[in-house]
Symmetry: C3
Subunit: 458 residues, 3 copies
C-alpha cells in the first residue's frame, strides 16, 4: 500500500504546514512583547510573592526562566528511555507545537491586555508547564497513535490543560508550586483516558515486540535522563517560588524525596524481579515519582524526614504499580500505558496532593513565620482560614481527576473519529525501516529474561 | 607502510608539544590576570551597555561567562552526530588549542595594556566565540584532513577570525550580538573555501563508506546535541547583551525561531525523502539553522511572529539546501562539505544578516524606547543615523564573505603545501582500528536505504 | 546455586531497608531545617569569606549550591565510561546513600545547635563533597565487591572522610577550596587501600574479560562525561570561594589547567600506544587530572602560565601512570585499581597539594592585595605568618595520606570479615545476564588491539 503510505506522510506534512501557518497568523495578529519598562503583571498561576515585585527581586526570575524551560526536556529524555529513538522525532514535534500553542492559549487567560497578548519570559515558563503535561499524556499513548493523531492531541489538550490550571490556581487559589496536580496528575489521567478510548487489543502484541528491539540506546538514555532529572528537577520545583528561603525548602525537600525514592527501588526490585540490582529505567521511574510527590508539598513545611518518608513510600509504590497494577489496568480496564505514566506521574501526583492537603491543614503562623505570607498569601492576609485553604486543596484533587477524565474522553473520541483506520500500521513499518536494526542473533537466555521483564513491566 | 604511520603519529605528537610549549612561553611573557580591584575595561566586541559598568550589574556577566563558554560544546556535540566518534578526539584537540590561542590573539586586539595581556572572564568568552567559528570551519573538512593539518587550520584561522571580528565590531560598530556574521557566516565560508582548495575527488567515496559505519551512536549524539542546543543556545545568544530586558528579547526570539524551524523540518522531510518523520540529525540541523538566523536580529525588535516566520523559512531552506544545493556544490564547485555547514551555518547566517539589516532600518526611537541606547548606542548618542547604521550592517556581509573566502584560500593553500601527500589514508586505517567495529552482517535492505539517504544528504 | 543468589539479593534488599529506615529515624529525631530568617552560621569548611555574610552576597551562594551538587554526577559519568553500565545502578545507590548519611554525619560536626542538626543548602553542598570522595574510592574497587560490601564502604567512609575534613579545614585552618586533599587524595588512597586489603588474584582475569565486553556505550559515556566535566567543573572548583574575583581566578585557572592537560594527552598517547589519537577515556582522565591538580591552588595566584604548566605536567604524568605505574601497583603492591583512580585523582591531588604549598609560601600582601583576606584570612588578620600557613598546608598532605591509608585498611578489613565468601561471583553472572550482550563475533584484530590496550590501561 505505497499510496496509503505516501498519503499518510503528506497528511502529516500538510497538517504541520497548516498549523504552523495558523499559529504565525495568530501571533502576527495578537502577540506583542511585553513592554520592557514596566514590570509585567504577575500572573496568579506563577504564585508570585509580594516581595518578588521589587526590582531587586526581578533578576532571579529571568535566570530561573532559562532553567525552567528545561522541564519538558527532562520528561523527553525520560520518555526516550522507555520508548526508544523511534518516537523521539514525534516527541520533539509535540514539544515544538505545544510550546507555541500554549503561549497563545495561556496568553488569552493570563496575559491579555487591550486586545493583545503580551509575551515575555513568564509566557515561556507557563507554556513549558503546559507542554510538560502534554508530554506526560503523550507518554501513555506513544507508539500507538499516528503523528497526525498526536498533533490533534496537542491541539485539544493545551486549551483543556490551561483551563484546568486557570480554575485551580487563579479561581480557587490552590497552591501547587511544583505542579503535582496541574502537570503530573492531570497529564497522566488525561493520557490514560485517551488510551482507554483508543484501545485496540491487537496493538499490544506488536508494541511488546517493538520494545524488545531497543537494545543499546535505552540504557544510555535512562542514565542521561536520570542524571538530568537529579540535577535540574529540584531547582525546577522551586523556581516558581520567588523567595530565596522558600526556594531553599523546595529544593531540599525534592532532593530528599528523590534520594529516598531511589533507595526504595533497590529494596523492592530484588523482591519483585529476579535481578539483584534494578535496571536504569526503574531507577529513572523512581526519580520521577519522587519528584512528582513533592510537587505540591515541596514549598511547605515537610521537614527533612517527612520528605524522606514520602519519597520512600512513593518509591515502594511505583515498582509495585508496574508489577501488579499496570497488568490489571490493561486486562480489566483495557487501558494501555506505554511508558507507565500512571505509576510515575499519576499515583505520585495524587499522593502529593494528599500530602499537600495534610500539610496545609497543619500550617500555623508559628511554624511558618514570615514564610506564611509567601506560601499561603490569602491565609496570611486573613481573607481565608487554614481549614478553608486545606479544603480547597483537597477539593482540587477530585476536580482534577474529573476534568482530566472528561478531557481525555473527549480528545480520545475526536482522535478516533478523525482518523478511523489510522496509519500506525504503515507508520510502524516506516519507522522500523530507519530505526536501528535489531540484533537478531542475540543470546536466547537474555532474550527470555528480557521478555519476562517486559511482560511484567509494560 | 608502518614507518610512515609511526612518523605521522610522531609528527602530531611533536607538533602538539611544540605548540603547547610555545603557548606556555607566550603566556609566561605576556599574560597576566586582570587586576581584580578595578573593573576591566569593557571591550567593544562584547557590546557592553553603559549600565553594565555599574557594580550592581557586574554579577550577571560572570554568571553568563560560565554559561557562554558552553557554545563550543554545543557545536561539538552537533559535529559528533554527523561525523561519528572517530573524529571526536580531533574535535576536542581543536577546541583545546583554539581556546588558548584565541585568548592570546584576542588579548592583543582587545585587552592589551602596558605590554601585557590582561586575562579574565571576558577573555574566555571572546576566545570561546572564536573557537566556535573554528569548529564550524573544521566541520566542513572533518574526516578529510589529518590532525596535523587541522592544527595548522586552527593556527591560521584564529588570527584571521579575530581580525575580522575586530574590523566589524570595533572599527565599523556593527551590531552582531548572536554572531550571525562573525561566527556562523565567517566560520562556514572559511571552512568551505579550505575544503575547495583541498579538493580530492577520490576521497569522497571513502568518506561515504565511513559514514555508513556510524550506526548506533549517531542518533544518541544527535538527541543529546539537540536537547543541549535547545536548552543552552537561547541564553547564549542573549549573553552578550548585558541588560536584562534586551536579554529577554533575544532569548524569546531565539526560542520562537528554533521552534518554528523544527516544525518546518517535519513539513519538508516527508516531501524530500521517503520517510514519514525526519531523522534526528535533520532536526538538529534545523535547530542550528534556527539559532544562526537569529544571531544578529535576536536583540532587535523582531516581534514574536517575525521570529516565527524567520525560523520557519530557514527551517524550509536548510533541508532544501541539503537535498539540492549540496550536490551542486560538490559536483560543480568541487566543494565537499562533510557536516553540511553551508546549510546549517552559512546560509542561515547570511539570511540572519539580511534580516538584521532590515530591522536596523526599521529602528526608531519610538518603538525601541530606552532600549535604543542598548541596541544601537551610536544611534542613540546621535553620532550616527539609522540609515547609516543599516548601511554598515549591510556592508558587513560582503566584507565577511570576502575575508572568509580570502582567508580560506590562504589557509587551504598552506595546508596543501605543508603536508603534500598527507596522512589521512593511514590516519583512516588507524582510526578505524579502534573505532567500533561496524556490524557487517546487518540487514541489506536497511543498508540500501541508509545509502540512499546518505547519497542525498552528504 | 540459586539459593545463594536469592539470599544475596535479599541481603541487599534487607540492608537497604534497614539503613533507610535508620536514616529516616535519625532525621526525624535530629534534623530540622535551618531557620530561614537568620542566616545560618558559616561553617569553617566552606571557607566563607567575611564579605559573604552580607545579605547582598547571599544570593550567589544558593545559586552555586544548585550547581555544586552536580559534582558527584560528573564523577559518576566518569566512572561509567570506565566500568560500563553494569555497575551504574550500584554507583547511583552509593550516591543516594552517601548523600543522606553525609548530611547526618556532617551535621554533627558543623551544624549542630541545641541538640538538633540544622539542614540547609550548605548541608547539601558539604554532603556532596563527601559523596564525591566516596565515589572516587568506590571507583578503585568497582566490579570487585558486592553491592552489600559497597554499602558498608559508604557507611564507614563517610564518617572518616568527615573527620578528616574537620581536622584539616576547621582545626588546622588549611585552605583547600577545590578539595585537592579532602576529596581527590583522600578518596583515591582510601579506595586503593581497601582494594589492597580485598586483593584476590583470580578476580583480575575475569575483570579484564568484562572490560572487553563494554563496546558501544563506553565511548558515548566518555564523550558526555568529558563535556560535562569541561562545562561544570571549573565553576564547581570556584564555588566555595564566595567572592566574585576570587571565583574568577579559580575558574580561569581550572580552565587553563584542563586545556593544557588535554593537549598533553595528545602528545603522549602516540608515543605510549600505537594509536594516532587518544581514546575518549584517556581524554576524560586527563580532564579529571587537570582539575584535581587545581583543587588547592585554584584560588591562589597561579597566573595563567602557571596553570598551563601544572595542567600540562599532570596531563603527561597521568598517561605515564596508566602505562607504567598501574602494572607495578598491581604486580608488586597487589593493588588493583579498576578505574585508575590513582592516576586521575591520587597523584594529581598530591601534586596539587604541593603546588598549593609552594604558592602559599609565595603569597604576599603586595601580590594578593585585598584578596589576601579572602584566600588566607588568618594570615591577613595577623594571627598566622605566611610560612606557618605554608607549613600547615604541607603537613596536611602526609596527614591525609596517613588517615586515608588507616581508614582504608580498617574499612577493607571490615568488608573482608563481614562477607567472607562474598557474592561477586554470583553477582557477576546476574549482572551479565541483563547487560548488553557482547558481540561475540567481532573482528579478531580489533579484539587483539583492545586486549593490548586494556592490559596496559587497567
Amino acid at each position: 500500500m505505497p499510496e496509503h503510505t505516501a498519503a499518510s506522510r503528506l497528511r502529516l506534512s500538510g497538517l504541520c504546514f497548516l498549523l504552523q501557518t495558523l499559529i504565525i497568523l495568530l501571533f502576527a495578529v495578537l502577540a506583542r512583547y511585553s513592554p520592557g519598562g514596566s514590570p509585567s503583571p504577575c500572573p496568579p498561576q506563577l504564585n508570585c510573592s509580594h516581595r518578588s515585585q521589587d526590582s531587586a527581586f526581578q533578576q532571579p526570575r529571568f535566570q530561573d526562566a532559562h532553567v525552567q524551560v528545561l522541564l519538558s526536556f527532562g520528561l523527553l529524555l525520560a520518555l526516550l528511555s522507555r520508548s526508544g529513538p523511534g518516537s523521539v522525532a514525534i516527541s520533539i514535534l509535540v514539544t515544538a507545537f505545544a510550546i507555541q500553542w500554549a503561549v497563545l492559549i495561556q496568553g488569552f487567560f493570563y496575559f491579555f491586555l487591550n486586545g493583545k497578548i503580551s509575551v515575555g519570559a513568564q509566557s515561556m515558563v507557563s507554556a513549558d508547564f503546559c507542554t510538560a503535561a502534554v508530554l506526560i499524556s503523550s507518554g501513555a499513548v506513544l507508539g500507538r497513535v499516528s503523528p497526525v493523531q498526536m498533533l490533534l492531541l496537542v491541539l485539544l489538550e493545551v486549551p483543556l490543560c490551561t483551563l484546568h490550571e486557570f480554575i485551580l490556581l487563579s479561581l480557587m487559589g490552590v497552591r501547587d508550586s511544583g505542579r503535582s496536580l496541574t502537570v503530573h496528575t492531570f497529564g497522566a489521567y488525561f493520557g490514560l483516558m485517551v488510551s482507554r478510548v483508543l484501545y485496540q487489543p491487537h496493538k499490544d502484541r506488536r508494541k511488546r515486540e517493538e520494545q524488545r528491539d531497543k537494545g543499546h540506546q535505552t540504557d544510555v538514555f535512562a542514565v542521561v535522563g536520570t542524571i538530568y532529572l537529579w540535577i535540574f528537577w529540584p531547582s525546577f520545583t522551586s523556581s516558581t517560588t520567588a523567595h530565596h528561603d522558600g526556594e531553599n525548602w523546595a529544593v531540599l525537600n525534592t532532593y530528599f524525596s528523590l534520594v529516598a525514592s531511589t533507595v526504595a527501588t533497590f529494596i523492592l526490585s530484588p523482591l519483585l524481579y529476579e535481578e539483584s540490582t534494578p535496571r536504569m529505567v526503574q531507577i529513572q521511574d523512581a526519580t520521577l515519582a519522587g519528584t512528582a510527590v513533592m510537587g505540591m508539598a515541596g514549598e511547605m513545611l515537610v521537614t527533612p524526614f517527612g520528605a524522606l518518608i514520602a519519597g520512600f513510600l512513593v518509591g515502594l509504590i511505583c515498582p509495585l504499580g508496574f508489577r501488579f497494577f499496570t497488568p490489571v489496568l490493561h486486562s480489566r480496564l483495557k487501558i494501555q500505558d506505554t511508558c507507565g505514566v500512571h505509576n510515575t506521574h499519576g499515583l505520585p501526583g495524587v499522593l502529593g496532593a494528599l500530602l499537600g492537603t495534610l500539610l496545609t491543614l497543619l500550617a500555623t503562623a508559628d511554624t511558618y513565620g514570615y514564610r506564611l505570607e509567601l506560601v499561603f498569601p490569602l491565609v496570611a492576609q486573613g481573607s481565608r482560614t487554614v481549614p478553608e485553604q486545606a479544603l480547597l486543596q483537597l477539593g482540587a484533587l477530585p476536580l482534577t481527576l474529573l476534568l482530566a477524565a472528561l478531557g481525555g474522553c473527549l480528545t480520545g473520541a475526536v482522535l478516533k473519529i478523525r482518523v478511523p483506520r489510522c496509519s500506525p500500521d504503515t507508520q510502524y513499518k516506516e519507522n522500523a525501516a530507519f530505526r536501528e536494526v535489531p540484533e537478531e542473533g542475540s543470546e536466547p537466555s537474555a532474550n527470555g529474561k528480557e521478555e519476562l521483564g517486559i511482560s511484567t513491566l509494560v
